[in-house]
């Protein structure tokens, strides 16, 4: 029995087509998050505070690096917790809590990207053009290259970016990422390599220019 997406986290899918030989998720030990969610579902709403306290920073950083601004990161972190709260009674600890959490987070992220895609593409292209001919006068070099990196990261496809962030930021295994994104481990490795390569290429250009 396998569980591979947000929808299927609640319901078993017997004929899910994946390229991975995944371990049975039924064997997952109930985590402290599962117990907290059970309490929330039973009406002990204050337990939600423990969940928020533990997970808001990882979520916020994931959204911040994905979208590049605090307002969106704040908004999506809040929306993720709202979804978690609403789904508390339906949650079954059949997969790792973090897998469930980040599946919800990723779905929200994709919705947000789609919503802004048109405007964002135009803005991004304009900003990237201005960023490459940037003068560093009066600005911190570190802040500057972080800004450029953020733009390069946002320019990578969502799948590559999310895979890279889950791997580096959240320290997930390739298999965990593959399960969440419903692809093979090999595909995940390729995505991560490509995203990382883009960042490296940009970094090398900056170093050659003597801006780092």
């Amino acid at each position: 029995m396998q569980y591979t997406s947000a929808k299927t986290l609640f319901f078993p899918v017997s004929s899910q087509v994946t390229q991975n030989k995944q371990p049975s998720t039924d064997e997952v030990e109930p985590s402290e998050e599962s117990r907290w969610l059970s309490s929330v579902a039973d009406g002990e709403k204050q337990t939600m505070g423990l969940l928020v306290g533990k997970w808001q920073e990882p979520l916020y950083r994931f959204f911040y690096r994905s979208l590049g601004n605090h307002a969106d990161a704040q908004d999506l972190t809040q929306k993720t917790f709202i979804r978690i709260y609403k789904a508390a009674s339906r949650y079954r600890p059949s997969a790792k809590f973090s897998s469930w959490l980040f599946t919800i987070a990723r779905n929200l992220l994709i919705d947000e990207i789609k919503r802004k895609q048109k405007a964002q593409t135009i803005e991004f292209q304009e900003e990237l053009t201005s960023m490459t001919s940037l003068s560093l006068d009066g600005k911190s070099v570190v802040d500057e290259w972080k800004e450029i990196f953020q733009h390069v990261l946002q320019g990578t496809p969502e799948k590559q970016r999310t895979a890279l962030l889950l791997r580096v930021q959240q320290e997930w295994s390739y298999l965990e990422i593959a399960n969440l994104m419903e692809v093979s481990e090999q595909v995940v490795k390729t995505w991560i390599h490509r995203a990382r390569q883009k960042l490296k290429d940009r970094l090398k250009i900056l170093e050659k220019k003597g801006e780092l």
Binding site: K45, Q46, M48, G49, L51, V52, Q56, E57, Y60, R61, Y64, R65, H70, Q74, T77, Q78, F81, I82, Y85, K86, K146, F149, L153, L164, L165, V168, Q169, R196, L199, K200, L203, K204
Partner: protein, 125 residues
Amino acid sequence: MSDQLDEKIDKFLKAVDVEIKEPISATTIIVNAENRRFSKRARYTFWSTSLAIAACLLFLFFVMQSTDESLPSDSVALVPSSILSDRDRVLLEDVMFFSNEFEQSTVLLDDEALNLFVMLHPLQK
């Protein structure tokens, strides 16, 4: 060289220095979740009510239209020729004349329609 680049990239991606501007409280989450639940319900109510009203209006429109169709038009005479005698015809023409004179709304037959009627249905002698 490559390791240094990787380190820099990892440091950037981990975003350890990124701080939450406004920490989220569980209370805010709960309040928002409850509000959204309510607004979602309100949205469903709004649409179902709107649909019901639209259906009623549509029904009334069709009912009124079918009623209109069953009424004869002001300028059309629906009088079978068999029941009209010469006397009736004269009487009808008089009524028509006065109706037109006083622009009453009870005009049943205008000249043209009457002529056409008479031509198509010659009066029985």
